[in-house]
């Protein structure tokens, strides 16, 4: 199966293999003798910005742990430097203000209520019923309606490293969204391929914490993807610890140990992906975490954790300046005296005097038809079928 995938991949994408590994060794030497004005990390990875898409696909109070999982990863990613404008957070967000929450406006991730991951500055981009398979695929492929604001879009380019984290209830080949629909691994793989066709990512790290999570990355075929899952096909991902005061399980095991691992990472650390693969062995997790790196071009040992979880900018010192000699016009000073007016945000007069929109006519739906059928049946039952000819 893997052989087939690899063979097909090579057949289709044979021209796409750059010689990155070849230049990596030479880069450092060249750096210090010729380009002292360029910062050292410039050539180790090909990305200039980082994005994160964090999705919690469950709702309802008993799925508290999925929301806590996603919020913990959100906090780590923010702490390591990715700003809110580059994070797309999708949560059902019905935990913090749930009637059953004994401590409202909080979501805890450690028992005895040690760490409140909800905090003051959570920016949820898609909440409640907006977390659907359609919206998730629209974010990934970029096919959003033009009225979507910037904070709800994934505006990545060909030099973006994207982290995608999914958690919830899943099965062999699918992931359940909000208890009403599901996304299959084929759809996910096709979405990533469309992202690759439009060069919407440089490298992508896919982490999934659900039951049978490894089935979700089986069908990937686009280059530069690395995937981690909390359990193999046929295994269940288990939850970590219940809290007796809140009454539900607070976190899943894999994400709990992932978080412990991430707490030791700071923006300048040099830990690499091989350490991430060792997170949560079978003794702690009960399920067997899996990973997939065959589609990834770089060696995982050379990929830093902060390449995906943090946002370390590359900087160059500016060496040139342009000599500008024109003086600023004195006339422009008069512009400042002009009073600034506030533009009307809403055309209020139009809205008040709007006529109601004509609704399209729809044929009567099943309920009305059933009701009339029942009435007719009762009528003919009582009065006999011979009256039928008077009707028709």
């Amino acid at each position: 199966m893997y052989f087939l995938l690899v063979y097909m991949y090579i057949k289709n994408h044979v021209y796409m293999f750059p010689d990155l590994l070849g230049c990596h060794g030479k880069c450092r030497r060249y750096l210090f003798c010729c380009f002292q004005d360029r910062a050292g990390q410039f050539f180790s990875s090909g990305h200039t910005n980082n994005w994160a898409v964090l999705v919690c696909t469950s709702r309802f109070w008993f799925n508290y742990r999925h929301v806590a999982n996603t919020l913990s990863v959100y906090r780590s990613v923010k702490r390591l430097g990715i700003p809110d404008s580059h994070i797309v957070l999708m949560l059902a967000d019905d935990m913090a203000c749930n009637h059953r929450n004994p401590k409202p406006a909080t979501v805890f991730s450690h028992k005895n209520m040690e760490l409140n991951v909800y905090g003051d500055d959570v920016e949820v981009d898609y909440r409640g019923y907006e977390v659907t398979v359609e919206n998730f695929l629209r974010i990934l492929t970029g096919r959003l309606p033009p009225s979507t604001p910037r904070s709800k879009r994934l505006l990545s380019d060909d030099r973006s490293n994207i982290l995608i984290y999914l958690t919830g209830h899943g099965g062999n080949g699918f992931l359940k969204f909000q208890d009403s629909e599901e996304i299959s691994n084929v759809e996910l793989a096709d979405a990533f391929e469309q992202m690759w066709q439009k060069r919407r990512y440089n490298e992508l790290l896919f982490i999934i914490d659900t039951c049978q999570g490894a089935s979700m990355y089986e069908r990937f075929y686009s280059p530069n993807l690395m995937a981690l899952a909390s359990s193999q096909v046929g295994e269940d991902s288990l939850s970590h610890q219940p809290d007796l005061a809140i009454g539900v399980h607070l976190m899943d095991r894999y994400t709990f140990y992932l978080l412990e691992f991430l707490e030791d990472i700071h923006p300048a650390s040099k830990t690499n992906m091989n350490d991430l693969f060792k997170v949560c062995p079978k003794s702690q997790c009960v399920s067997t975490p899996g990973h997939r790196t065959d589609l990834f071009l770089r060696d995982p040992g050379s990929v830093l954790i902060t390449d995906f979880f943090g946002s370390v900018r590359k900087v160059e010192l500016t060496m040139e300046t342009i000599n500008l000699t024109d003086p600023i016009d004195a006339e422009s000073g008069e512009l400042q005296k002009e009073m600034h007016t506030y533009a009307d945000q809403l055309p209020v007069s139009e809205i008040i005097h709007q006529k109601p929109k004509q609704k399209d006519w729809h044929p009567p739906d099943g309920f009305i038809l059933g009701l009339w059928t029942l009435i007719l049946l009762v009528f003919f039952q009582t009065y006999g079928v011979k009256h039928l000819k008077h009707i028709f």
Binding site: Y15, P18, F43, T48, D157, R159, K314, T318, I328, Q336
Partner: protein
């Protein structure tokens, strides 16, 4: 007896007619109502575009001034030569470059212009004589004796589209024109490499289409630094004041933008639209602690710590929610009273003269230098009344920002070959030939991106049979294909302005078609699910029809068998 016969016949007729209605009316109706609407796409033209053949041509005019050619050589001039170079980038992409070189002698007015005291003035007066169209070049060959260029400089590249080339005198006497041209050729090739399109630039512009192994490290950094081609950009200037209690800042941003930045953006208007805004942020810290350098009694920021400056600030910058254009941020930081003055040191512990740094595809940050600030003579004496009024010298600040803006937009300023002198780019911030180079690479990049988009969209729609293709998508695709064909032909003809315009239209149409919200494929039906849906609907209906048809056939066969022995 007869009635049962009639009844049976009626039954057979009923079964046959029901079967006929089902097959003739029902099946086509079901097929038509369940097929997805797919408007026609020009698939054959798209397949043609998948194999991209780009021809780039430039017009070069070489003008010989008096004293550079002997009278025998002069007889053979005017002369036209054409040079073609083919490159095959990969199996689907091929490039060919054509240089049409015209040689002629200078006119009297040009000779007068070349007699100016300095090269810059000569350049200016040559420009007033004639304006070269976009994409073309003029090289003036001046004799050894000319005093326009300093001693060690052979080539001067002006602000417009002209270059001055000085040839050595030993090649002049007793040689034919061909030998003279052959001697000049390497120099002219170098001039073309600097001022017109070069193979490295064009192949870098094709990076969306072709994954090329990066050549040298400078090209990797260059390709990562500049923004990708986009129809619009947003530029934001932010003034960061971490200490409003001590400093009251005044910056004339409107005037500065109008005077210094707007000319560049107006010149770049064929390439993209720009929108500018500015803001002041109070209590915005840098996020890294500067160290005190006692030898110079200044505070310093090390080059290694600069990478951690951007993230804490970025959260507060904000952006225009209405557009999805890439944003360029330019930040000016005034250090607070306790950490003043603040300088950036590079890896060799030397002060950086501009005191600024930039991040690829993001923007630039500059820390104000003390000498660029008015009204602060002796800083922070004991009896200074806080807050101190500070007026910022916008010319110096905008000089640095303009340099960063040029780098981020992709105006390459690689080091020219030895013996070259490049004129400073003037108040517009951009020389004409730099604009031409940008337009060449942008056109090629747009064409490459648009062809990839269109071909992958066609492939996607072909693969997934149940995506609805609306009329507006088909129209966008057709207009993208038309624009692409026009852009490629205009590039071949050498009309750079039109080629860029058509390539921009092609990009807009293809992106609009590819990212149309209606193209979402949520209809993944495995075959067993399709059977599970149709069988409960059709099986109960088809089974009685089939059985009755079978009964009719078996009865007819039986009757036929009965008739046969009777015939005998």
């Amino acid at each position: 007896m007869a009635t049962t016969e009639v009844e049976r016949r009626r039954g057979q007729l009923a079964a046959l007619s029901i079967a006929a209605v089902v097959i003739i009316v029902g099946v086509p109706l079901w097929w038509r109502t369940t097929e997805t609407y797919r408007a026609w796409l020009p698939v054959s033209q798209i397949k043609e575009l998948a194999k991209l053949q780009l021809h780039l041509s430039a017009d070069v005019e070489v003008v010989f001034a008096r004293g550079t050619v002997t009278p025998e050589q002069q007889k053979k001039v005017p002369l036209t030569q054409t040079q073609n170079m083919e490159h095959r980038v990969d199996e689907d992409t091929a490039l060919s470059y054509r240089y049409e070189t015209r040689y002629r002698t200078a006119t009297i007015m040009e000779e007068d212009a070349l007699n100016q005291p300095t090269a810059a003035e000569a350049d200016l007066s040559l420009h007033t004589l004639s304006e070269s169209p976009s994409g073309s070049l003029v090289v003036y060959v001046i004799p050894e004796s000319s005093s326009l260029l300093p001693q060690n400089v052979d080539v001067y590249i002006g602000q417009r589209r002209t270059a001055l080339l000085r040839i050595g005198s030993q090649m002049r006497v007793g040689k034919t024109l061909e030998q003279l041209l052959a001697h000049m050729e390497p120099r002219i090739k170098q001039v073309l490499h600097v001022m017109s399109f070069s193979h490295t630039d064009i192949t870098a512009a094709l990076s969306n289409r072709v994954r090329i192994s990066p050549g040298n490290k400078e090209s990797i950094a260059d390709s990562m630094r500049a923004f990708k081609s986009s129809p619009g950009y947003e530029i934001t200037f932010s003034l960061l004041n971490p200490d409003p209690k001590s400093h009251r800042l005044h910056w004339d941003i409107e005037g500065a933008v109008e005077t210094y930045i707007q000319p560049l953006l107006t010149k770049l208007s064929p390439v993209a639209n720009f929108s500018i805004d500015s803001q002041t942020l109070y209590y915005a810290m840098l996020g890294v602690n500067p160290r005190f350098d006692s030898s110079r009694s200044t505070y310093t920021l090390n080059a290694d710590s600069l990478a951690h400056v951007i993230n804490p600030v970025e959260a507060r910058l904000g952006s225009n929610a209405a557009s999805s254009n890439p944003v360029l941020n330019f930040l000016l930081y005034i250090p607070d009273a306790h950490h003043s003055p603040l300088y950036i040191h590079d890896h060799k512990k030397q002060q950086v003269p501009t005191n600024a740094f930039h991040s690829p595809r993001w923007g630039g940050i500059m820390i104000i230098r003390q000498c660029w600030v008015y009204n602060v003579n002796e800083f922070y004496e004991v009896d200074t009344v806080f807050p101190v009024d500070i007026n910022i010298d916008m010319a110096k600040v905008m000089g640095v920002f303009l340099a960063q803006l040029r780098l981020l937009l992709g105006v390459q300023s690689s080091t020219p070959p030895p013996g070259f002198l490049v004129a400073p780019c003037g108040n517009a911030g951009l020389a004409d030939w730099e604009l031409d180079r940008l337009m060449w690479s942008r056109s090629v990049e747009n064409i490459a991106t648009a062809t990839t988009t269109i071909t992958s969209l066609a492939q996607l729609l072909d693969q997934i049979g149940n995506i609805v293709i609306n009329d507006n998508i088909a129209q966008q695709v057709s207009s993208a294909v038309t624009s692409l064909q026009l852009a490629v032909s205009e590039l071949e003809a050498g009309n750079l302005g039109f080629a860029l315009q058509y390539s921009k239209e092609a990009i807009l149409s293809s992106e609009r078609a590819f990212f149309d919200p209606s193209l979402l494929h949520l209809l993944y039906f495995p075959d067993d699910q399709k059977f599970a849906i149709y069988i409960p609907l059709f099986l109960p209906m088809c089974v009685p029809i089939l059985l009755s048809l079978l009964k009719i056939v078996s009865e007819a066969r039986q009757k036929h068998r009965e008739k046969k022995p009777k015939k005998d």
